[in-house]
């Protein structure tokens, strides 16, 4: 029917009270965390969202208990957060896990993820890590038993600086490359997540090659030395960490870090969630580390 002429304009509709769920199952840990929040109308709700949190898998339900943990906030300051946690819960590769959250005030939400199988990698020329300069590249080969999601291989060097009588430990990540900005400053490009390559011949695993520039590796070592003039510096370990995440986490991560579609004509900003009845993301990650001892 014809609406009344005295209609009012209401930019704000009914408050959509939904749960906001952030859960990342770590395939290598037996302690898992889930953070539960809710949508809000005007300002963030810092109150605890009382919920019943269960993750169901083949082995049955795992109940998460509320607790408080300390983590760095967006500025890096250690801050206490109210979370739900489960101890003694190590997800199994290939199993489907369904998270169910029910609350008395904020409704229910649900999400699922499939446990990743173990990825692996090795450094092909470890001698060039311990004694860099002989070759142009440090090469690694990674294999994935779950052909999905995304991965990143990070290369971090542990070093020690003798300050007074003590060796102070520090870490520096080796960039993939560097460019100069308009002011002539270095802008380093670090490894970031990229899609796990598609398997060929219907195989259920896939491999890929990753390489780091020896030039960047040496430059990073020189930066550490130059940042500590006159102080003894020793490089102790090269830490390689391969992290694989599932598709849901990759979708979320990609949007979070700004779409970088060079070809799009689109001007809008996409959003992503895999939480049914809510927002946020529920996924899993697998992390594998190898270290190479360096000659001090």
């Amino acid at each position: 029917m014809v609406p009344a002429c005295n209609q009012t304009f209401e930019p704000d509709g009914a408050y959509d009270q939904r749960l906001v769920v952030y859960g990342i199952l770590s395939m290598t840990s037996d302690t898992q965390y889930v953070r539960i929040m809710s949508t809000y109308q005007t300002s963030p709700i810092n109150e605890q969202v009382r919920a019943v949190v269960d993750v169901a898998g083949l082995a049955g339900n795992v109940h998460f208990n509320d607790t408080t943990v300390v983590r760095p906030d967006d500025l890096g300051t250690p801050t206490s957060y109210f979370v739900y946690a489960a101890n003694g819960f190590k997800p199994q590769p290939g199993w489907t896990y369904v998270i169910n959250i029910s609350t008395p005030l904020h409704g229910t939400a649900r999400g699922s993820t499939l446990g990743l199988k173990s990825p692996d990698f090795y450094v092909k020329n470890p001698a060039d890590v311990t004694n860099p300069g002989r070759t142009e590249w440090i090469d690694a080969s990674a294999s994935f038993n779950s052909v999905r999601g995304a991965f990143v291989l990070r290369f971090v060097v542990e070093f020690q600086v003798l300050v007074g009588a003590s060796w102070v430990t520090g870490y520096i990540e080796i960039p993939k490359g560097a460019v100069f900005d308009a002011s002539g400053n270095h802008i380093f490009e670090y490894p970031t997540f990229g899609r796990v390559p598609i398997a060929s011949l219907n195989l259920d695993y896939t491999t890929t090659e990753i390489r780091f520039s020896t030039e960047q590796y040496l430059a990073a070592r020189e930066r550490i030395a130059s940042q500590n003039p006159g102080l003894p510096v020793q490089f102790t370990r090269a830490l390689f960490t391969l992290t694989q995440i599932d598709d849901a986490l990759y979708n979320y991560f990609y949007i979070l870090n700004g779409p970088k579609d060079l070809g799009t004509t689109r001007l809008d900003i996409p959003d992503y969630t895999n939480i049914s009845g809510g927002l946020g993301v529920f996924g899993c990650r697998y992390e594998v580390r190898h270290e190479i001892l360096l000659n001090p």
């Binding site: 014809v2 609406p3 009344a4 002429c5 209609q7 009012t8 304009f9 209401e10 930019p11 704000d12 509709g13 009914a14 408050y15 959509d16 009270q17 939904r18 906001v20 952030y22 990342i24 770590s26 953070r35 929040m37 809710s38 949508t39 809000y40 109308q41 005007t42 963030p44 983590r71 760095p72 906030d73 967006d74 801050t79 979370v83 997540f193 960490t241 992290t243 995440i245 986490l249 979320y252 991560f253 990609y254 949007i255 979070l256 779409p259 970088k260 579609d261 070809g263 799009t264 004509t265 689109r266 001007l267 809008d268 900003i269 996409p270 959003d271 992503y272 927002l279 946020g280 992390e287």
Partner: protein, 736 residues
């Protein structure tokens, strides 16, 4: 081929053809749609766009032959028909003046030609002038009075027809396609109403001969110019000044030119809530040489807009639009009439950032060269066969910066090759209009598997059946299939689009496709009162929408969705000598479905009432009131906020800390409705004569009741802007 078969059909009876032209006595312009009848034989014909008619196979003898047209006095003459060749009978009709108790009216009645399409409205220059102007007379503002045509705001003259998007309207000026025929953010059209001979609006199920757009056709035909004497018109209003001149150049050539230039943006600022200086100008020039059966013409059109904000942060915008064409119309053989048009049209928009701002430059250019030929074959009685082809080369070049900060340039040139055939005939009281309008390159792509699609959407049948009854009544049913490959990539949710970029659909997407179904009933309830009732369904089998699930570069920007719009339109027109009343009501519903999620598009308006009344008073004073009511357009309400957490690079500690970024949660898309729109405008005009100079003085008041119709709501600042407030204005024009 179809046309040639018809053309070579042997004449069914012996006789002599009678043909000629019908001309307006006041200016020598040839009249379209004039009726020429041979009394006693029941034979007759209507003049075509070039004022030409042809009556076939008239037996030898002497006849009373009459010519008449809406708004003109009938002319009857005795015509001897005999001999071998065709008999030429040209007519000159004088404008009919009606005197009613001291009131002098030039003409009444809208020139409807219902047999040409199920959903056609024809707007004459007199209709254009009879509407109260929105600051100045405007073609698109007049089109907006028609049922089924809506605009999302007072600011924008962009129009939406029967639930179709704005880029789905084919806009033609003398057959030349125009891509951006707007001034001042779309608040005015770039056509000077002074040059307009007629405006045809096909709001649905348009016949063969028109292609490339899904929703409607707006066909503006310009006048050929006064062949009797030099004449002109100069006008000034709060927005712009105009000068139109026309006259003869020799015995057979007429010319017309028009220039308009904005004067001040002070009045315009009342349309647009923020101070955005805008300057525009346009020009039109046409020369036409009359031949015995048609004409040869050249025309050119230019328009330009410049927005130059004083704000050092705001970029400047510049629009340029132009079109040029050459045409030939005339009898090719005794029975085949041809209209040829070669044209080139171009539109360009540029965003020019101020120095020291981070806003990137952007530009969009589209150009199209085309050649169009239409053949009409004259046949016995009311049979009419026509066909033709059009080959066009649309090319575009868009340069813009994406959200990722990447400068991108898209350019492409395509070929569209349309052919069409159409046959209209009557069997007693039942008439048929059958046609096909395939686009060959798209058809080839589908056949070769380059592009998904179906044969029916390539053949594009256009069908109409009519039943005539009760002398003045016509019942009609029509069906048509339409496709579109050239679309704009602006966001339909934009209130005022400053940057429309056209692009050709990627090969992997199906052409946009719509099936139109229309039922209509129209006629005269009693002599001054005519009525029309139409029901329609536009089934959008494929429309191009943003891909809501796009995340990665490999995800397509656009996907094919679906949609449907349907509605009922009622139109009443009371056209008496001193009182002209117009009223329409439209009930409509439009839905679009993307990834199985249906929603109402931004331009879906359920109820629209449009009324207008003009009373012709003594001393050549006219008073007009126009009221439009529309139920609210859809919009999406805010439903709250949430914290989108960073994941710390998903490094060694996977737990998401921090409070994240506050993100808005929106409610179901377009599920809420804005308050209803209502606007009452009034105008008083006085026509005066000072010796040979005719003048018109007008006073217009927009939004008499001061309704606060919502224009824009800024979700970030919470500021609401409103459309035109109570706004008086005046204009004066003189003609000689």
């Amino acid at each position: 081929m179809f046309v040639l078969i018809i053309a070579t059909k042997p004449a069914q009876s012996e006789g002599i053809d009678v043909r000629g032209t019908v001309v307006d006595s006041s200016n020598g312009e040839r009249l379209t749609g004039a009726s020429v009848t041979i009394e006693g034989l029941g034979k007759g014909a209507l003049t075509n766009l070039q004022g030409f008619y042809l009556i076939l196979n008239v037996p030898p003898g002497t006849y009373r032959i009459s010519a008449s047209a809406v708004g003109y006095s009938q002319v009857v003459r005795l015509l001897p028909v005999g001999g071998q060749g065709p008999v030429i009978a040209d007519f000159v009709l004088a404008t009919r003046l009606i005197e009613v108790e001291g009131v002098t009216i030039e003409s009444v009645g809208m020139d409807e030609q219902p047999e040409r399409s199920a959903s056609i409205h024809v707007i004459s220059p007199l209709d254009l002038k009879s509407l109260p102007p929105t600051l100045q007379q405007d073609v698109f503002r007049s089109v907006a009075l028609l049922p089924g045509v809506t605009s999302t705001s007072d600011v924008s003259a962009r129009f939406y027809v029967r639930g179709g998007a704005a880029d789905q309207n084919l806009i033609l000026l003398d057959g030349m396609k125009l891509f951006n025929p707007f001034h001042a953010f779309g608040s005015l059209s770039t056509f000077d109403p002074e040059i307009v001979k007629s405006v045809e609006v096909y709001s649905g199920a348009f016949p063969a001969g028109y292609g490339g757009r899904l929703s409607s056709v707006l066909n503006v035909t310009s006048r050929d110019g006064n062949r009797s004497r030099i004449a002109g018109r100069a006008g000034i209003n709060f927005i712009s000044s105009e000068l139109a001149l026309e006259g003869p150049a020799g015995d057979d050539i007429g010319w017309i030119m028009s220039v308009r230039k904005s004067l001040s943006d002070k009045a315009l600022k009342r349309f647009v809530p923020h101070e955005v200086p805008n300057a525009f100008h346009d020009a039109f020039l046409k020369g036409t040489m009359a031949t015995t059966t048609g004409n040869i013409g050249l025309r050119g059109f230019l328009s330009a807009d410049d927005i130059t904000p004083a704000d050092p942060q705001q970029p400047e915008h510049a629009w340029r639009s132009s079109a040029f064409g050459g045409s030939f119309s005339g009898l090719l053989t005794d029975r085949i009439y041809v209209d040829l048009l070669a044209s080139y049209t171009r539109a360009e928009v540029q965003r020019i950032p101020k120095p020291a701002t981070l806003i990137p430059t952007a530009s969009s250019k589209i150009a199209e060269a085309s050649l169009r030929a239409e053949f009409a074959v004259y046949a016995e009685d009311r049979d009419h066969a026509s066909g033709g082809f059009e080959i066009s080369f649309p090319s575009y070049q868009n340069s813009l910066t994406t959200r990722a900060g990447v400068q991108r340039e898209f350019r492409d040139t395509n070929v569209e090759w349309w052919i069409w055939a159409r046959y209209q005939w009557w069997m007693g009281i039942v008439g048929f209009d059958l046609g096909v309008n395939p686009e060959l390159t798209s058809l080839f792509d589908i056949v070769l598997g380059n592009k998904p699609g179906y044969f029916l959407q390539s053949a594009q049948p256009r069908l109409m059946a009519m039943v005539s009854f009760g002398n003045t009544w016509l019942a009609k049913a029509s069906f048509g299939v339409y496709t579109q490959n050239l679309i704009t990539m602006n966001n339909e949710d934009d209130l005022i689009s400053l940057f429309d970029a056209w692009l050709y659909l990627p090969l992997k997407l199906r052409p946009e496709t719509a099936y139109h179904y229309v039922l209509g009933l129209e006629g005269k309830l009693f002599p001054p009162l005519s009525a029309s009732l139409q029901a329609y369904i536009k089934d959008y089998r494929s429309i191009t929408l943003y891909n809501p699930d796009k995340i990665f570069p490999e995800d397509p920007d656009y996907i094919s969705g679906r949609g449907v719009s349907s509605g009922v339109e009622v139109l009443l027109r009371y056209a008496a000598p001193i009182l002209d009343l117009y009223g329409s009501y439209t009930l409509s519903r439009a839905r679009v479905e993307s990834q199985n999620v249906p929603y109402a598009p931004r331009y879906d308006r359920a109820h629209v009432v449009k009324t207008m009344g003009t009373i012709h008073l003594p001393l050549r004073v006219d008073m007009t009131l126009r009221w439009e009511y529309g139920s609210g357009y859809p919009y999406t309400q805010n439903a709250g906020y949430y914290s989108r957490l960073g994941l710390g690079g998903l490094g060694s500690d996977p737990f998401p800390g921090g409070e994240g970024t506050s993100m808005r949660v929106l409610g179901p898309k377009n599920e809420a409705r804005l308050p209803a729109y209502s606007r009452l405008d009034g105008s008083v005009t006085w026509q005066f004569n000072i010796e040979s100079i005719r003048g018109t003085l007008g006073l217009t008041v927009l939004n008499l009741s001061g309704e606060r119709n919502i224009l824009y709501y800024d979700r970030t600042t919470g500021v609401t802007d409103y459309m035109i407030p109570f706004l008086p204005s005046a204009f004066i024009a003189v003609e000689f």
